[in-house]
Structure formats: structure tokens, C-alpha cells
């Protein structure tokens, strides 16, 4: 069953076309990496899926519903760098935000919600930090809390926007392992720049640069990079890509075609 279904979607900010004729179907239990250059429309695509933006043309269904209707079953993990670190909030309160129900008023969250939030933190190994202020944690720990918050919503789809931006290499590896574990029962879509690390964990790759190319396999080929990043293979990653049978010169020609 498809959890995300995008057909002929166009999107533009003030007449500047960001996404053009995008088609994408993501099946349940897929683990998709969305890659592409900065400004290529990755984050825009994420916001469309979340229903924060509306497409100019085309259709977008999440869990067979409009994104706005489906958003409660989507666990969104934003980029940590955009968050206010000095904000007066504890780890458990961040996780509790995942249980937020706008119909429910007054300040206290129910005990059941607290248990759920605590369980989500526990799943991310963050339960011991529950009463700490969010600003006291390291970048990797904060990211785990944000994932716990998304898990507390009991999502069918976990959507992460560059989750490793503030994490070191070792931390990245751990995070992707964790996502792989979560992928056992949740569909995971992750926007990322860690091309090499991620190809070891994901099941498929979507390249976004105005248009979208979906590859139902984990390997990231030089061809994809040439098409997507319009820069030389050496600049992106020097070693592994050559192994895919594409010489640097060919890759260079490739990028000429796309210009």
C-alpha cells in the first residue's frame, strides 16, 4: 500500500518554479533517502508532504488523505539548527508535544500521555534525561529527543529533515542504525546529505533537483549525482562512485548534458 502518492506535482514560490512535474509513490515500510543539492527543493517537498505548503498543480496524497488531514499520523523531525536552544523547556515536555491535541485545553497533560512520551524517550535511550533542559543536551541527544517527540505521535510515517546536520560521523552512523530499527514498523523518509553513509541503510533513493528521480535501490550512482548536483564526482565523493563503472570523464559529460 502506498503511504505517499504524488502525481504531476508543480510548486513555485512567487513564480520561481521549485518543483516541476514530480511523481513519486512511496510504499509502506519503505526507507527512502531524499537527496539533492541545496535549493533543489528537498525541504519544499517535505513541507508539501506535511501540508504546510500547497501544490500549485497536481495531487499529493498521504495515507490516501490530503496532507492536512493526514498530518497527525506523520511524525516530523525538523532540523535541529532551527530550534531555539535557550527555550525554557525540559526533554519530557518536548516529547509531550507529540501528544498535543488542540481540542484538549488547560495546562496539564494526562498521565497516559506522559507514559507514552516517556516510552518514546526510552525507545531513543533518552529517558534518563527526561527532566533536563533541552539546551543542556548535545546535538545528537537533542536530535534523539526530536525523534522521540515524533514517535510519541504514533506515526505511520516518520519524516526527517537533515537529521544529522549537527552530529559527528560516529553519531550519524548510530542514528541511521536507529532509523533502520524503527523502519521495522514505520515508513521512514529522510532528507540527507550523507550520501555514502546513508546508502548502507536505506531501501531506495529519491533525487530531487526541481524534478524528481526515484530509484528503487539503495545505491547512489555517479549518474544520479551528475544529474542532481551538476558538479564533478570528485567533489562529491572521491572513492566509491568510481566503483560503479562510471569514469570521471563520463560523469563530466553527463553533467554537460544536464546543463
Amino acid at each position: 500500500m502506498a503511504i505517499i502518492e504524488i502525481k504531476n506535482l508543480d510548486f513555485a514560490y512567487n513564480r520561481e518554479v521549485v518543483l516541476k512535474d514530480v511523481n513519486l509513490t512511496i510504499q509502506q515500510n519503505d526507507f527512502v533517502a531524499i537527496i539533492g543539492p541545496n535549493g533543489g527543493g528537498k525541504t519544499t517537498l517535505v513541507k508539501l508532504i506535511l501540508g504546510l505548503l500547497s501544490p500549485l498543480k497536481g495531487t499529493l496524497l498521504v495515507d490516501n488523505k490530503s496532507p492536512q488531514k493526514a498530518s497527525p499520523c506523520v511524525g516530523y523531525v525538523p532540523q535541529d539548527v532551527h530550534m531555539n536552544r535557550s527555550f525554557p523547556i525540559t526533554v519530557i515536555d518536548v516529547a509531550l508535544m507529540g501528544k498535543l491535541d488542540p481540542k484538549q485545553r488547560w495546562s496539564r497533560q494526562s498521565a497516559a500521555n506522559r507514559r507514552d512520551a516517556m516510552a518514546a524517550l526510552d525507545r531513543m535511550d533518552m529517558a534518563a534525561h527526561a527532566d533536563k533542559k533541552i539546551g543542556e543536551l548535545s546535538g545528537g541527544e537533542r536530535q534523539r529527543v526530536l525523534i522521540a517527540r515524533a514517535l510519541a505521535t504514533q506515526p505511520k510515517l516518520l519524516l526527517l529533515d537533515e537529521p544529522t546536520a549537527s552530529i559527528d560521523t560516529k553519531g550519524r552512523e548510530d542514528l541511521y542504525k536507529l532509523l533502520k530499527k524503527l523502519n521495522k514498523d514505520i515508513t521512514v523518509v529522510v532528507v540527507s546529505h550523507d550520501l555514502l553513509v546513508i546508502s548502507r541503510y536505506v531501501k531506495s533513493v529519491a533525487c530531487v533537483n526541481k524534478s524528481l528521480h526515484y530509484h528503487n535501490q539503495a545505491e547512489i550512482t555517479g549518474e544520479m549525482l551528475g544529474a542532481m548536483y551538476l558538479c564533478s564526482v570528485e567533489e562529491v565523493c572521491p572513492v566509491e562512485l568510481v566503483g560503479h563503472g562510471l569514469s570521471h570523464r563520463e560523469a563530466a559529460q553527463h553533467q554537460e548534458e544536464y546543463r
Binding site: 506535511l50 525554557p88 523547556i89 491535541d101
Partner: protein
């Protein structure tokens, strides 16, 4: 200080200061965490246009001023909600225009002159009882609204996008918050003055932010800290015969500097 309280005007000044601390503690917390300090300055200054309108057209003071500042606040909210990066410029323009508009109208008002100083520094020593009741009423309303909508305000302030995804109507709360800010600013301003409002709105929440573990704690602690500044400032003003509003602000400013130094020492070496 005790003997000073024998005078009714001193008791009223103290009550007005304490109520202003509560209102500013609550609103200031929201202002600081949502980073709309500049916007609240804009509202407070643009409100002068309302004072001009009231005196030129002989309209009743409070309704005219509140309507005008609500109008200016909604303009600023519209710009800051949709175009975050352009917002500060536009707010600056509305800020300046509102004040200029007010000053010209007051110039044109025959035989009547509102003292600009009393608008800036208020007249906390001449607060009538009726104003105290109005301030008490807003404080209670505000405590109620903030408690009732606490989760939504928290979610909006911490992570607007996530709040939207959870189904919180962020736009409604954003405009609601700024509307509430406009009303509170005007009502408290005519009592304690524009400068004191901005000081009480920003300094206590800023000092408290590093220690508070929740918005609620931050609101309570800011109110208490604001109250402490007000009492100390009023005492200094009585003891040394200096302008009360200014002395409250000086006390807050000194506390602000001390907190900066303490933070520097406490968090030395860590990423702050």
C-alpha cells in the same frame, strides 16, 4: 519604605507596579521566547498615534488608543507572520509613522497638550484607583487565557511547524497573542509609561530564561523579579527623591548586568 506606605499615592504606586510586573512577566515571557521584542516596542510607540487621535477628535482616551494600537499591531503581525525577514523594517516604519502621526495631531489640537514625558515615563505616583481596577482585571484575564491555551501557546512558541502539523491553528494564536500584547501595552503604559513597559517586558524574562525549565516557571519568576525591581525602584525613588519610573528601570538594568556577569562565570567554557 514602611512610612512611605502611609501615603495613599505610594500604596497605589506600589499596587500599580506590582500589577504591571505580573502583566509584563506573562506577556514578556511570550515576547522573549517568540523573539518579538522589536514588535512590542513598535506597538508601544505606534500607540502614540492613538493618543493623538483621542486628543484631536476629543474621543474617549482608552477606546481610541486601544483601537489604534490594535490596528497597528495587526498590521505588524500580518507582516511578521508572512514575511519574517522583511518584518523588522516594516515594523520600524509603522513605529515611526504612528509616533509622528500622534505628535502632529497633538500639535494641531487647539489649546490642549499631552505631556510627552508622561507618555514615556508614565505617572506611577499619580495612579487613580480606577486604573488599578482596570489593571487588575487585565491581569486576571491574562492569567486565565494563558492557562487555558497554555499547551497551544507553548507549542507555537517552541516549534511553529510542528504545532501546525499537530493541528494547532498557529495563525490564530499568533494574532491573538499580539492582540493581547497590544491591549496590555496600552493599558499598562498609561500607568507606568512606555519605557518602563519595555524594560519590564524584556529584562525579567531575559534574566530568568536561563534558569527556568518551563514557560510557566518563566512567567512566574519574571513576574516576581519584576515585582522586586519595582519595589526596590520605588523605595530608591522615595529615599533619594528621583523619578520613580527611571529608578525602577535603573534597578532592572543593574540586575541585568549582574546576571550577564554571573552567566559568564557560571557557563564559562561551555557553548553559550
Amino acid at each position: 519604605m514602611i512610612e512611605a506606605l502611609e501615603f495613599e499615592f505610594m500604596r497605589n504606586a506600589l499596587a500599580a507596579g506590582l500589577l504591571a510586573s505580573v502583566i509584563c512577566g506573562i506577556m514578556g515571557t511570550l515576547v522573549v521566547v517568540n523573539r518579538i521584542v522589536f514588535l512590542s516596542g513598535g506597538i508601544a510607540h505606534a500607540a502614540y498615534g492613538g493618543i493623538g487621535l483621542a486628543s484631536y477628535f476629543k474621543w474617549p482616551f482608552l477606546p481610541a488608543t486601544i483601537s489604534f494600537s490594535l490596528f497597528a499591531a495587526m498590521l505588524m503581525a500580518t507582516v511578521s507572520y508572512s514575511k519574517r525577514h522583511r518584518a523588522d523594517t516594516v515594523i520600524g516604519v509603522i513605529w515611526a509613522l504612528g509616533m509622528a502621526f500622534g505628535i502632529i495631531l497633538i500639535d494641531l489640537t487647539p489649546g490642549y497638550n499631552v505631556d510627552l514625558m508622561s507618555y514615556l515615563f508614565g505617572s506611577i505616583l499619580a495612579v487613580p484607583r480606577s486604573d488599578l481596577y482596570i489593571m487588575a482585571f487585565i491581569s486576571v484575564t491574562m492569567v486565565f487565557l494563558v492557562t487555558y491555551y497554555y499547551q497551544d501557546l507553548l507549542a507555537m512558541s517552541y516549534d511553529e511547524e510542528f504545532a501546525k502539523i499537530r493541528g494547532v491553528s498557529v495563525k490564530k494564536y499568533y494574532f491573538g497573542m499580539i492582540g493581547m500584547l497590544a491591549v496590555a501595552v496600552v493599558l499598562v503604559m498609561q500607568v507606568v509609561g512606555l519605557i518602563l513597559i519595555i524594560a519590564l517586558l524584556t529584562i525579567p524574562p531575559f534574566i530568568v530564561e536561563k534558569y527556568a525549565k518551563s514557560l510557566f516557571q518563566m512567567m512566574v519568576a519574571s513576574s516576581l523579579l519584576g515585582a522586586a525591581f519595582t519595589v526596590t525602584g520605588l523605595w530608591l525613588s522615595y529615599r533619594f527623591n528621583i523619578t520613580s519610573g527611571a529608578s525602577i528601570i535603573m534597578v532592572s538594568g543593574v540586575a541585568f548586568l549582574i546576571s550577564l556577569i554571573v552567566n559568564k562565570i557560571r557557563f564559562a567554557g561551555s557553548e553559550m
